[in-house]
């Protein structure tokens, strides 16, 4: 299969908040730069940013402070955050959100006096979540997509990067190999600088909040390119994913605000149980509430649908319908009456805290490569606070954009040569399934097996034995995936796409299980039933990994750098 070659100054993979803001800020800093955004979906329609319901945590009020936001973030992350990244997050969030309004035209909800409204979210010492109803992501992404249209920025839609390209040394990124899904052909994009901002989305678990097209592509590509990643054991499970048997909508969220407002959780015996796990009961942080639900389910106290139940009805139907119209509507579509009855829910895989090891200007361990948003790690430590996720994407998108523009002041805009033969090798690898004959594996079936394996063995509650067995199972699935046969034409071939998704999900599964085995304690989102306690004597480290010669992750750990706040200060912070 032949391919087309395009050249650009800046290549941005992903068109969520991080990718879009990076493009906008880089362009505004230097409109002469040729910027190309590549998105797997239609313009502005992919990614998790658009799906954000809650909002962004931002310090806007005189009674609040960056100090408080930082301490909340470190406490929420159970102290293993990169403090430089966390500090940049909270400090730059303020100008970022203001510019979202003043430069890009977002309009967030207002107080009666016309100032920006901020609502309470779990784990915060101040009500600082800026939002637009319960559809914040739509406002942010629609407005920034329009801003992209306004500028001379090229967007390649329904085009997915399949792998990053590097030079002969492997130290410099020279662009990426794309698959134009609509046409079914490869495109090589040579770029002087590349930003990976595809978003994570742990869809390698059977129950997941992000849409299925989010398949941890960025993390997998970074890993395969030899980038250093960190904290990959930290996968966030959101406590309240809707159970809809047999539907792809299963796992989508009922927003956290329901518990914030006073909703109760019930197990299959019809009893409230959260008091057994945390004095804050239903208002404890996401990791605690998810784990408690999972333990109830493991103990055989699941409801008939297989999870637990949320009860908002006791707050009164009128209250629920007025304050959570979107959630009530989502339930109603599937025959559940959120305002008047209990609704079955389950923890659902939601966010990857780990990712590329970056500095606050989004540089990575490879030259000419930048990473922003969920593909990067370190900002949130072991657990992300609600409202800090889209905040990270926006803040670090902006950081990346400025950083990319600066890059061209001192660096050549001609990338080095891509390693000879690399493009052909990758093209061959990704088209192999077309040439296979004989009995074939069903890609959908393999994906489901992988999701079930991760859910059961590397999920909310883990232990060494299960994870060891998961390694074997993932390896088996990796081998089986090499037998997948894809039929049909090249263009808009969804099975081919699912195959590429699957290879990415397998690579990320490798990273998660290896990192999780290395942390022999429980911390934040990482809970091991064989080491159920948080142990600050041994646990104050970060796990780093790169792809080893054997095709598996090579790990090492480094102690947490308590650059601004000591572990003691973090521990003592009361929200």
């Amino acid at each position: 299969m032949s391919h087309e070659t395009l050249k650009t100054d800046i290549l941005i993979l992903g068109m969520g908040a991080a990718g879009q803001l990076a493009a906008l800020y880089a362009y505004d800093a230097n409109p002469d730069l040729k910027i190309t955004i590549v998105t797997k979906a239609l313009k502005g329609k992919g990614g998790c940013s658009r799906m954000v319901q809650g909002g962004l945590n931002v310090v806007l009020n005189d009674s609040d402070s960056h100090e408080k936001h930082l301490m909340d973030t470190l406490k929420g992350g159970q102290y293993v955050n990169d403090q430089d990244l966390a500090r940049t997050l909270v400090e730059e969030a303020t100008p970022t959100i203001k510019e979202m309004e003043t430069r890009f035209g977002c309009f967030f909800d207002r107080n009666p006096d016309g100032t920006i409204h901020q609502k309470p979210f779990a784990g915060q010492s101040f009500d600082r979540t800026v939002h637009k109803g319960d559809l914040t992501g739509i406002e942010m992404i629609s407005r920034t997509t329009e801003q992209i249209m306004k500028r001379d920025i090229q967007v390649l839609e329904e085009c997915r990067a399949v792998d990053l390209l590097t030079d002969d040394s492997g130290d410099e990124v020279t662009g990426a190999l794309m698959l134009d899904m609509k046409q079914g052909r490869f495109v090589v994009i040579e770029a002087a600088a590349t930003l990976v901002a595809t978003g994570g989305g742990p869809t390698q678990y059977s129950f997941h909040a992000p849409g299925p097209e989010k398949s941890v592509d960025g993390l997998a590509m970074l890993y395969r390119a030899g980038v250093r990643l960190r904290d990959m054991e930290m996968i966030q499970f959101h406590p309240t994913g809707l159970i809809i048997p047999g539907s792809v909508v299963a796992g989508s969220l009922l927003e956290e605000g329901l518990r914030g407002a006073g909703a109760h959780l019930y197990n299959g015996e019809g009893k409230r149980y959260m008091h057994k796990y945390d004095p804050a009961e239903e208002r404890a942080t996401r990791d605690v509430v998810s784990r408690s639900a999972f333990l109830e389910m493991l103990a055989g106290r699941a409801c008939v649908e297989g999870g637990i139940q949320i009860d908002a009805a006791h707050m009164g139907a009128e209250f629920v319908l007025k304050n959570f119209p979107g959630m009530a509507a989502r339930c109603r579509q599937f025959g559940y009456d959120l305002a008047r009855e209990r609704v079955p829910i389950s923890p659902t895989a939601h966010f990857v805290m780990g990712g590329a090891d970056i500095d606050k200007n989004c540089h990575t361990s490879l030259r000419r490569l930048f990473v922003a948003g969920e593909d990067s790690g370190g900002v949130h430590g072991g657990n992300r606070l609600g409202g800090n996720g889209i905040c990270e994407s926006a803040v670090y998108g902006r950081q990346a954009g400025k950083s990319l523009a600066r890059f061209f002041r001192t660096n050549s805009s001609t990338p080095p040569e891509t390693a000879p033969g690399l493009v052909d090798e990758l093209k061959k690898k990704f088209t192999e399934p077309f040439g296979r004959s004989g009995s074939t594996e069903d890609v959908f079936q393999l994906r489901r097996q992988l999701q079930e394996c991760n859910w059961k063995k590397v999920g909310v509650v883990r232990n060494g034995q299960d994870m060891e067995s998961a390694i074997g199972e993932i390896n088996f699935l990796k081998e089986e995936s090499k037998k997948v046969k894809v039929t049909g034409g090249d263009n808009y071939n969804m099975v081919w796409n699912t195959y590429i998704d699957l290879t990415n999900m397998i690579d990320v599964s490798d990273m998660v299980v290896a990192s999780a085995l290395a942390r022999k304690e429980s911390r934040a989102a990482h809970y091991r039933s064989d080491f159920p306690d948080q142990n600050d004597e041994i646990g104050l480290f970060n796990t780093y990994l790169t792809l080893g010669d054997n095709g598996l992750p090579t790990l090492h750990s480094e102690p947490v750098d308590f650059k601004y706040k000591s572990a003691e200060e973090c521990r003592n912070h009361k929200k």
Partner: protein, 438 residues
Amino acid sequence: MAQEQGNTRKVAIYRYDPTVGGDGHYDHYDLHIEDETNTTILDVLLRIQREQDSTLAFRYACRVNMCGSCAVVINGREGLACKTNVSDFAESKDLTIRPLNHFPVVKDLVVDMGPFFEKYEECLPFFEPRDMSEEPAIIRPDSIERRAIGFSTECIACGCCVSSCTMVNYHDGYAGPAPLNRAFTLLLDSRDALYEERLDRVLQSCYNCRTEFNCTEVCPKEISCTRSIKFIQRLAIKEPFRAKAKSKAEAAASAPAHGENVAAEPCAAHASGEAGQCGCDENLDTGRRNFLAKVTVGLGAVSALTVGGVLASTFVGQSLDKKEPVWVPAGKLGDLKEGDVTTVNLRYVENVGFYNQERVKPVMIYRNQEEDKVVVYDSRCTHLGCSVHWDARQKLFLCACHGGAFELDGSVKAGPPPRPLATLEHRVENGNILIAMV
């Protein structure tokens, strides 16, 4: 509601293979569904792809009504596959799923949304800050501006509205509902600097809307694009232009480049968020208006020919019964400004069947000094009978309801009116004008 044993549905899905070309065809599948209340049309597509035909192509992303990728036509009606459940259709009904109308098909149910985004961009859908303030604007949620905008900003650009619209295929220049809705939200946004340029771009389009409400009916986010389009027309009427329409070429030459800040001086009311209330006429730049392009005149004429014949005897003017006119005094001829139109409210008593009723009716009197003649126009729009008013700046009679516009000679300039304004008989006695009201 929940099916005990489930139900087997016959599903017909449109198939098109670009390497084969042609008109495409329908493939038929039988799908057993256990619980139809829990099964969306997207689930149906995913299952058929997984279980029966892996070559089936369709588009989706978020699967929770937030991205607008999975719009299709289901049993003749546009909707998001993820927001439509099988149980929305009677158990005995077969399902027919086809791609959106008015878009080129890429493969099977996947359409090329390029034309949609082109139209969208033409409407200048992006915010351009009016000033370089670093602080978010103080705008009360109950301001007129924000109440009018409402949740219209929540459009997810799925294209359902465009597919449902019967007009987009007839008028090349028609931007369609969603782009106009976006323009509407920005036109009302007091923070935005491109008011005039945007209005200039979109107003012509608005006159292509025939108020069928299809877009409003199918919108998965329950936005009324019809309302947005009509709102733009009202804005234009409230803030008319001083200059005559320019030629198309001139308009194109003066159109702003993307990103260029071409803000005119804002009016005070606009800046304070009182959109729709301000009388910004005085501040408007004169040379920039090109509202009612010739194309709409042509369209008006077409509809006048086709619809006019049907409606002529039903709406305006001639009653079937011969009725003696009432001659109503309308003031002194000498008081009417020469070469201009004066609106006069006539007060008279009309016999309405079983009773007499006092009427107050506005009429519009044009005094042409050169030809020494007077023309009296009925103020009822020939479309649906709304009140027409004279706009001195544009030298047009305008109707606020659906954007109808008439020339000084009463002929249709733009919009839906099927025929010219009706004229009323008059006579002049001793310098007083008398008008025949029927």
